[in-house]
């Protein structure tokens, strides 16, 4: 395959557009990596879609968090098939109608059988469905494609603009209702109840995922894939805003948190080691020089005493920023050995100390659950009141601050138009060594509506902290 040929067949243009879409989705793909991808695909050939995917993945993706976005964009630009595919049987019945009550009934039966018979292997490996016709029955993937083809079509607003809806498909097919039957079938094969439940749910979830992917694939075939990519592809989880994260994203972020804190701790220790060269250790240097004929080739230094400060974290745990506050607290406590002392307080309109929730070696999930439970102690009327919270803090916990302590305030500075308590905050800030305010909102929203960010920003340096990457960077710089 020569360069001209790829150009003629439109592959080159597809390739460039694909890379462009990846860049838009947040993957930094360089020119050199694009060329590597072409070389890789040429070495493997274009005839197997999974090989093409592997070639692109090996050359273009350089971080595992980017993999989800890569797969989504790849599916849009190199779809599994177009429309129903060439080999699929005609879906319409003799009246030219695809979607009918009888067809639905019959399809659900087939789906139920397929879900039952599905081997565990195929459920774990979506690629397995690609090799057609293995095991006799239709693969889950084919069924998903058929389901969307039959039941997911939406009448278009204009001719040729008809859409496809995963939601409609799933509502008609209702795979969730098949779980009961599936449970019975699995129990018959000697699976324990829990086991059957877990498997049944996993299979149905797999089918749901495939239907969603298939609907997106059909939409992308009708429209510009770049446009679809912009809407459907979500940024990697570490670049996702805390405030716009969905439930599943939060779950994923929580899973990232522990590795993140460990990575950060390793990096910090290493950097401290690198800066550890203290004053010259004359005695050791001279001793070492004996082996090199009295020439001090290597110098030895005394270790430097690490400098450690106290940290006081004051965080807003009202609904709007609760998850952000929890993440930051978890991260700070994971790095507690970098500080001489850490104390944490949560507030909504009252202040509550939560330091004791962070037992060394405790399970992160449990700590988060406990934090959520104890958030009610921090609330009286349940609406954020910064002024009152600062005042209460100054009254009850002023002893936490001192010349060695750093104060960290977490919150979106949305005051519900109440008293801001700038005076109290200024006093608090003045009594400690340094202070920061972390704000999970984009700076362009600061000062809009009831946001008091500019007012507080004048007293405390306010830092934008919207995603895990920024959080990691901040905590790193803080230590």
């Amino acid at each position: 395959m020569t360069g001209e040929e790829t150009g003629d067949s439109g592959l080159l243009r597809r390739h460039v557009a694909f890379l462009e879409a990846l860049r838009e989705a947040g993957l930094p793909v360089s020119l050199a990596e694009g060329l590597d991808a072409v070389a890789g695909v040429r070495a493997l050939g274009w005839d197997d879609r999974e090989l093409v995917r592997a070639a692109y993945a090996a050359t273009v993706v350089k971080r595992q968090t980017q993999r989800a976005a890569f797969d989504a964009v790849f599916d849009l630009y190199f779809p599994r098939l177009l429309g129903e595919g060439a080999a699929a049987p005609e879906l319409a019945d003799e009246h030219g109608i695809r979607d009918s009550a009888a067809a639905l009934e019959e399809f659900r039966e087939r789906l139920a059988t397929a879900l039952e018979q599905l081997d565990e292997l195929a459920a774990n490996e979506p690629q397995e469905g690609e090799s057609e016709g293995d095991g006799g029955g239709p693969s889950l993937q084919d069924l998903a494609a058929e389901a969307v083809g039959r039941f997911g079509q939406m009448p278009g607003r204009a001719p040729g603009r008809s859409g496809w809806s995963a939601y409609n498909t799933l509502r008609r097919v209702a795979p969730g209702e098949l779980v009961a039957g599936l449970l019975a079938a699995l129990a018959e094969r000697g699976r324990s109840e829990e086991e059957a439940q877990r498997r049944a749910e996993r299979r149905v979830a797999e089918f749901t995922r495939l239907v969603e992917a298939d609907a997106v694939r059909r939409i992308a075939a009708d429209r510009d894939p770049a446009e679809v990519a912009r809407i459907t592809v979500r940024p990697p989880v570490d670049l996702l805003d805390f405030t716009s994260a969905r439930r599943a994203d939060l779950e994923e972020m929580r899973r990232q948190l522990y590795p993140l804190s460990r990575r950060l701790a390793a990096r910090l220790t290493k950097e401290q080691h690198a800066r550890r060269r203290g004053p010259l250790d004359f005695r050791r240097t001279v001793r070492a020089s004996v082996s090199t004929g009295g020439v001090p080739l290597t110098t030895h230094h005394r270790p430097k005493r690490p400098h450690r400060s106290e940290l006081v974290v004051l965080c807003d745990v009202s609904g709007s920023v609760a998850s952000f506050a929890q993440f930051t607290l978890m991260l700070v406590f994971a790095l507690r050995e970098q500080f001489s002392k850490v104390r944490a307080f949560t507030f909504v309109d009252d202040v509550h100390e939560v330091t004791d929730a962070f037992v060394p070696g405790a399970d992160p999930g449990e700590v988060l659950a406990q934090l959520a439970l104890r958030a009610q102690h921090a609330a009286r009327f349940g609406r954020t009141d910064y002024g009152r919270a600062f005042a209460r803090f100054a009254e009850e916990h002023a002893d936490a601050l001192g010349p060695k302590a750093s104060l960290l305030v977490l919150g979106d500075a949305r005051s519900n138009y109440r008293d801001l308590g700038e005076g109290v905050l200024a006093e608090l800030v003045a009594s400690c060594r340094s202070a920061w305010w972390l704000n999970p909102e984009h700076p362009r929203h600061w000062g809009t509506g009831d946001s008091a960010a500019p007012v507080y920003g004048a007293i405390v340096p306010m830092v934008e902290c919207r995603n895990l990457v920024q959080l990691e960077q901040f905590v790193h710089d803080l230590v």
Partner: protein
């Protein structure tokens, strides 16, 4: 042009299997590409999924020698690339001056002491100078300092090393380079750009079962399946340290040694320490798997 490392992805699967490494499709394809494009391969993933083993398997499958550079904090040029054997040089100078006034002049000595004889080659240079097929394994590259990455750049992109006194040494035969990383530190974009990337993750149930069966053939099929299923469930639990493949193999050996013929709840509870190394993980597993009712 020397023969390629692997003829095709399928060939890679087959030959890696012959030496006892069960590669999945993505791993085999990437290994094939690494050989075909002659680019270094960066392997990332959790500890104990067979990153280092991949390099060793490639070396065995292709009959190549493995040259290993174990990275650690404080690794420097002298231990990664090359070093002048200054003690020997010192001796050489002393010997030539003591030989009497008829000894060679400074120019001569200078030329003498910067030759191959006084060069201590370290892994990177060794790998490049070898004429036979070589697999260069740069292990745990994330443990090094940023300066070493700069050093790697020249080696990885052009496969050459510049020694001021000797000139530039270019690889006669490009080695198959594998870098492994646990991602404790983000590698620089420059290094990543020059590498192919492979993320090795925990294998799926069937593949792990095959691995356990091939490593511990004496274990009964039924127990092995129970074991792998339990391990898969443990990995779903969001633990501090999820059990790796190495740990499931350890567990299989433990069960064999204790002659446990059925992995029921009591047996799991008694031997859980083999796979879980944190107290909080242990508690969580006991609770989630409902081991003690």
């Amino acid at each position: 042009m020397h023969p390629a490392w692997f003829a095709s992805p399928d060939d890679a699967v087959r030959r890696l299997l012959e030496v006892g490494y069960l590669a999945d499709a993505a791993t085999a394809t990437t290994a094939f590409l690494t050989g075909a494009l002659e680019k270094p391969l960066l392997v990332e993933g959790p500890a104990g999924v067979g990153k280092t083993e991949l390099a060793k398997a490639v070396a065995r499958a292709c009959g190549a020698e493995l040259v290993r550079l174990q990275c650690y904090e404080g690794l420097d040029e002298a231990r990664a690339l090359y070093e002048w054997n200054y003690k020997k040089q010192l001796l050489r100078i002393q010997a030539s001056t003591q030989a009497g006034d008829g000894g060679p002049g400074w120019e001569q000595t200078h030329d003498d002491i910067f030759t191959d004889e006084f060069l201590l080659t370290r892994p990177l240079l060794t790998a490049i100078r070898r004429e036979e097929p070589t697999v260069l394994l740069i292990d745990e590259v994330d443990k090094t300092d940023v300066e070493v990455e700069g050093l790697l750049l020249e080696v990885l992109s052009d496969f050459q090393v510049t020694i001021p006194e000797l000139g530039t040494v270019t690889a006669v035969r490009r080695p198959f380079v594998v870098l492994t990383s646990n991602a404790t530190r983000e590698l620089s974009e420059a290094v990543k750009r020059r590498c192919l990337y492979l993320h090795l993750d925990y294998p799926d149930l069937e593949r792990e079962l095959e691995i356990v069966r091939s490593q511990v053939p004496a274990l009964e099929e039924r127990v092995a399946r129970q074991l792998v299923e339990t391990i898969t469930r443990l990995r779903d639990l969001d633990l501090k340290k999820a059990p790796s493949i190495a740990e499931s193999v350890d567990w299989a050996r433990t069960l064999l040694a204790l002659e446990i013929g059925d992995l029921d709840e009591a047996a799991v509870d008694a031997t859980l320490g083999v796979v879980l190394k944190h107290a909080s993980d242990h508690d969580r597993a006991v609770r989630e798997l409902k081991l003690r009712r």
